[in-house]
Every structure is written in structure tokens, then in C-alpha cells.
Amino acid sequence: MDTLESIYGILFKTESTIYEVKKTNNFYKTILILLIVSFINALYISNSFLASIITTLTIFISIIFLGLFLSMFIALGSNFLGGNASIKDTLEIFIYSTLPFIFFPIFSLFFISKLFLFIWFFIIFSIGLKVLNNFSITKAIVSIFFYIRYFISNKLFTFSYYYLIFNS
């Protein structure tokens, strides 16, 4: 399965594509996809071509770092729930889930809400985790929120001058 097939498949036929991608285990393809996502968004937000090259690198690095950080906790969460995904595999799925953001410039230019892209990202990520760990979609969703629980329970035992509003 080559890159173009993977791009189309992840966006529109997520589950079957991720099964195929999991079999081939090609990390260079993942990097290429991330570069494509980064470059499209960099062109949109930069003000010159040179700046867009630098911005591509910064977006690329920031998604890798963010993905790595989140993957550590999400892999922990999914292992806790009976899965067996590694941090590297979870990071790959995270990177694939950023594919909907290639539509970010189009959505921005036509004033369409980008919330849809975040929902799409979340759906791909959940399905990816489900396939990767071989468990249910509910457990996949719970493992995504596992990292938030970790921070809430450990970090809030401090004195805080905080204004907090709780919604349900």
C-alpha cells in the first residue's frame, strides 16, 4: 500500500487501511505523511516561501513532540485496559490522525468551523487505537482520556489561587 493509497484510506476507509498499515509497519511513510500535513499548513500560515520551509519544520517537530508525549500516556492507558500497543505504534496512529488537517486552509478560507476537523482527528485516532490494541472502541476512547485523568489526580494537590468553573 503506497502513500497516496494510505492517505485516501486513512481519511475515508480508516479501519481497513490501518489494518494494512499495521502489517507493513513502514515508519518512513508516516514521516512523509506528517511532512505533507506540516507543509500544507505551513504554506497557509507563513508569509513567505522561506518562512514556510522553517514553519514546516517547526510544525513537524512540535507534532512529533506532542505526539510522543501523549502516546506515552495513551499507550500506558491502553495497556492498562488490556491492549498491547507500543509507544511507537501509538505515535504512528497519532500522526496518521493528523491527516484531516490538510483541509485546514480550505476550512479557514471558507469560514467553515474547524471543529469538524478535530472530531475527524478524534475518530481516526480512536479507530486506530482500537485496531492497534485489538479491543473495543470504548476502551480506545477511555485510553485517550486516561492521560487527562493522570494529570488531574496528581497535579491538583497543591494550593492554588485558581478560578475554576466546573461544567457537570
Partner: protein, 334 residues
């Protein structure tokens, strides 16, 4: 004529669609890149804070008349040497910026606050630093509250000579909070237990997997009260208000800018321009005062020299601010 199987046709169709999608996305991005007006590009290179300073402010790179410090997001101590840190609530960085301002003999500082608060110790340290610079170095401090400047942010603002805000700024929330999650039922449901071996009765106080006892609650309440009294003293000293009056206002409630002004918690309802102009008059600067932002993340400074608005900040924000329960109400004119 090439014969394709159904499978091959399907793969070919997927590839064609993927190519079309990529071409369309690249095209739109390229159109966006080359259609940005030249004035916008010049401003990006010139200004050092895209969202706040595209205005009439005279921003300089050398010694300014007025230093600006942004305090944004949760206020707490973070590592000083993290090159990717974009946390504008990092107390170490803020105090270090204040020290730089003192060393450069700058006579006036505008603290721009957009924060729901933070840890008690970080807020106290910044407050103490401001008070010390006011007393020992004669530096004038004005605070400008933006969307939200509650709790720990108000603590810091109360150290300033004057506080400005807009009528719908959210402020107040003078008080202390501590949260400990009670996950006992969840633990019982999923069969999760902890075995705690401890040296003292209160060593595992706040353990989420057992119920908190009454004497533990009492102990924590005493600590909260102690910290609360510190907050009251700080506001009373900073604002020259009677501590009993502060106590009446400090039941933890939030105030709009209008309400805060009516209760003397802020000095003036005004904009950034008002604050800068009044500060300039106070230090006898005529004409448009020169301003400079003193606590931008260092990586943003490097990349902005290339004219690049750094997306790194946005990507890393969730890591740095994920301890907040991110439900800040904003009043919007929509």
C-alpha cells in the same frame, strides 16, 4: 489496452482521489500564502507580539520607556532552561524578566494579565518581586487585565500601582482552592487497590483511593485558611484597603470589570492605550512612549526574525496548560 482487475481499479481510483485532494489543499495554501497583503507581512516582521501589538504602540528592540510583561495561562514554577517552553505563566521566567528590567534601569512596567490564576507560591513570589522593585528601585507598575485575571492573577495585579481592566473583564475569585479526587468507588468497581505503608498518620493525605477522614479535612482546611489570610494581607497592602473590607469581597466570587471598579478592586476601566499613556505621563515621557515585551518565549524571538509566526507554541500549549480544568467562561459580544 491495459486490463485492470476490479481491485486494481479500486486502488487506482483511491490514488487519483488522494492526488486530487492533495493538489486542491496545496493550491488553497499557496493562494493563501501569496495573497497576504504586503503591509501584513511587514507588520509580522516588525512587531514582536502578533495578537496584541498590531496597533499604534511604538515597539522597539533597544532600551524602551515602558517594559511589557505578559502573564498568560496558569501561573506556576516551571523549568528555566526549557527551550521549547512557551508558558507565559512561568514564575521563574517572569521574575527573571523583572530582574532584567531592573538591571536595564527601566522605570515603568505594564503587566498584561490573562490568567485564571495559579499556584499560591508562584503568585506570592511574583507579588513580592513587584513590591520590592516598587519600594527599592522606584519602578512604576501598572496592571492591565484582559479577558480573565482572577485569583492568582489578581494577587499579582494587587501589587501594582494601578490596575486597568475593561468593563467585562472577569476578575476577583480572591480565595484558595485545593482539589483531591475521590476515586474510591471507581477503584472498587474495577478492582483497583493500593497498599500504603507509611511512617506517619498523615503521610498519604489526599490519597485518591480512600475516603478522606474528618481530621485530615480539618488539617487541610487550616492550611487553606492560612494561605487565604496571606492572600487577604497581600491585597490589603497592595490596594491600601482595610483587611476587613477585603475579607467581605473575598468570598471567592468573580466580578466583572464594572463590579470590580465599583468595589475598588481596580482603579480604572480602560484599554491598553490608556494604561500605556497614563504610565508614560507618570514617568514624564512625552510623545509616543517606546515599549518592549520582556518575556516572550526565546524560540519565538528567534523564529520571528525570519518572519515566522511560531506554531510550536500552539502545539505545545496543551502540554503546559493541561492541569487546568479549561472551563473559563468568557463573555462574548457575538
Amino acid at each position: 489496452m491495459l486490463q485492470y482487475s476490479i481491485m486494481e481499479k479500486k486502488i487506482l481510483t483511491d490514488k487519483i482521489f488522494a492526488t486530487l485532494i492533495l493538489i486542491v489543499c496545496f493550491t488553497f495554501s499557496a493562494i493563501s500564502l501569496y495573497s497576504k497583503p504586503k503591509e501584513y507581512k511587514k507588520d509580522l516582521l516588525k512587531t514582536n507580539n502578533l495578537f496584541n501589538d498590531l496597533s499604534s504602540l511604538n515597539i522597539v528592540d533597544d532600551k524602551p520607556d515602558i517594559a511589557i510583561i505578559d502573564i498568560s495561562g496558569p501561573i506556576m514554577y516551571s523549568s528555566d532552561d526549557d527551550p521549547f517552553s512557551t508558558n507565559l505563566g512561568n514564575a521563574n521566567k517572569i521574575i527573571s524578566s523583572l530582574e532584567d528590567i531592573k538591571n536595564e534601569n527601566i522605570k515603568a512596567v505594564l503587566i498584561r494579565l490573562n490568567s485564571p490564576g495559579g499556584t499560591a507560591s508562584a503568585s506570592q513570589s511574583i507579588y513580592q518581586k513587584i513590591m520590592s522593585l516598587r519600594k527599592n528601585n522606584g519602578i512604576k507598575f501598572f496592571a492591565l487585565m484582559q479577558d480573565v485575571a482572577a485569583s492568582g492573577a489578581y494577587y499579582i495585579a494587587s501589587a501594582c500601582d494601578k490596575i486597568y481592566c475593561s468593563p467585562s473583564t472577569i476578575t476577583g475569585s480572591i480565595g484558595v482552592i485545593m482539589q483531591v479526587m475521590d476515586l474510591t468507588s471507581l477503584g472498587n468497581k474495577i478492582g483497583y487497590q493500593t497498599n500504603v505503608i507509611k511512617s506517619g498518620k498523615y503521610k498519604d493525605i489526599g490519597n485518591s483511593f480512600r475516603k478522606m477522614s474528618d481530621d485530615e479535612k480539618k488539617l487541610l482546611q487550616e492550611m487553606i485558611n492560612d494561605t487565604y489570610n496571606e492572600f487577604l494581607k497581600a491585597v490589603s497592602n497592595g490596594r491600601n484597603m482595610d483587611i476587613n473590607l477585603v475579607r467581605k469581597l473575598a468570598d471567592g466570587r468573580i466580578y466583572t470589570g464594572n463590579q470590580a471598579y465599583a468595589n475598588r478592586l481596580v482603579d480604572k476601566l480602560g484599554t491598553q492605550e490608556d494604561a500605556i499613556n497614563d504610565l508614560a505621563k507618570l514617568i514624564n515621557v512625552s510623545g509616543t512612549p517606546k515599549v518592549k515585551n520582556y518575556n516572550k518565549p526565546s524560540w519565538e524571538k528567534i523564529f520571528e526574525s525570519f518572519g515566522v509566526k511560531l506554531p510550536l507554541s500552539n502545539a505545545l500549549k496543551p502540554i503546559e496548560t493541561n492541569i487546568t480544568l479549561n472551563k473559563i467562561p468568557l463573555m462574548l459580544y457575538i
